[in-house]
Symmetry: C2
Subunit: 225 residues, 2 copies
């Protein structure tokens, strides 16, 4: 009997997936949650073999949750189940230690099959998406450029961005300009769309967490002119 925990933020979809899996005699849904931040405790408590993770979730996204599951629960495998076939998502899922990556576009029958294969020690990835992810390579954006782009996605002005990121307006302009050139587009709006489509935006793109920053904002040589 394979023990499965479901993490998916849309309650109706979560319930429907549970119903789908309950029809399989060798699978058992032993836990459900709509948040990413209690996946680990739930999976541990219920001794799950498999956790099925959506990416968009409150609390902690599915990729981060997969990282924690991989680190803290040795006997438990994570499968990402997502709406978006973005190359960057697949890359980060694999980097996070996920053992499977499934699209909601796939036939319903694939789900149980994927769970069984992963439970048996295999890996499940869509070959076409894998090829695309490999051919496109990693994000060319630096962590900072990515941050600025993310902050710009809401339509904020340069001045707004400078305030919210504690940077000078010129620096914001520089990062945006750099991102725009790297992505081969003509303005920040296109840059946001391209980066989003490739899955290069959501969480931290690369490098470790930018906790405090290497240097306080403002205190530097010629600051405060």
């Amino acid at each position: 009997m394979i023990r499965v925990v479901l993490a998916e933020d849309q309650a109706m979809v979560r319930g429907a997936l549970a119903a789908l899996l309950s029809m399989e005699p060798d699978l058992e849904v032993v836990g459900e949650t709509g948040r990413g931040d209690d996946v680990v405790s739930l999976a541990r408590e219920r001794q799950a073999d498999i956790v099925l993770l959506d990416i968009e979730m409150p609390g902690l996204d599915g990729l981060q949750a997969a990282t924690k599951v991989h680190a803290e629960l040795p006997g438990c495998r994570a499968i990402i189940l997502t709406t978006f076939g973005r190359p960057g998502y697949l890359q980060r899922a694999m980097a996070a230690g996920a053992t499977g990556f499934l699209l909601k576009d796939a036939p319903a029958s694939d789900l149980a099959a994927a769970i069984r294969r992963v439970a048996a020690g295999g890996v499940v990835v869509d070959p076409a998406l894998a090829a695309q992810a490999l051919s496109e390579g990693l994000s060319p954006l630096t962590a900072r450029e990515c941050e600025v782009l993310k902050a710009a996605a809401g339509g904020a002005s340069i001045a707004d961005l400078a305030r919210s990121l504690h940077l000078s307006e010129g620096t914001v302009r520089n990062h945006l300009s750099s991102a725009i050139q790297k992505l081969g587009v003509r303005n920040r709006t296109e840059a946001v769309q391209v980066a989003e489509a490739k899955g290069w935006l959501s969480p931290a793109p690369s490098g470790r967490a930018p906790a405090g920053g290497t240097m306080g904002p403002g205190e530097r040589g010629t600051a405060d002119p």
Copy 2:
């Protein structure tokens, strides 16, 4: 026995919903499709009592499909099942003759309950969303403003928009400026986001189809200066 047709573009979600409904003794899923444009024929052929429609679908969106179901199949009721609780969606769903409007955020048990209530002649709407929709009123955007905004969503420049819409650049600027002011925002990016969040963007917002336009683009008094 209530006969249900499912229209939802994500195959896995569709299958999962079918599994969910198959557990109800008084419901029967008699047809499934991932496209909006064969909902009517499928529902007619299978003599459905209820069609469950996602909004985002290829071919024909759920709102348009609901319109056709309402017009062509007197004995059949449409329920919209969507991810987004956008006021404009609810308004258009009701205008399209839908008899129910459900969010995928709602508990799984609500689905069967909603189907039963609608089959029994009732109407199912989330009261909070209905209140919001009523309080916000209809879209303040004219059909043209909406079109321009939609076209601008991809990050195109004014010149691009003018070309693709067969308008002068000045006119495009005027429409954008007007939309920006009506929505109370500061630039086109924010305007797109606000309009999208309220559900004012997707299909035709109001008025009839802008087939040829009232006047050819360019042929007018002082055209071609």
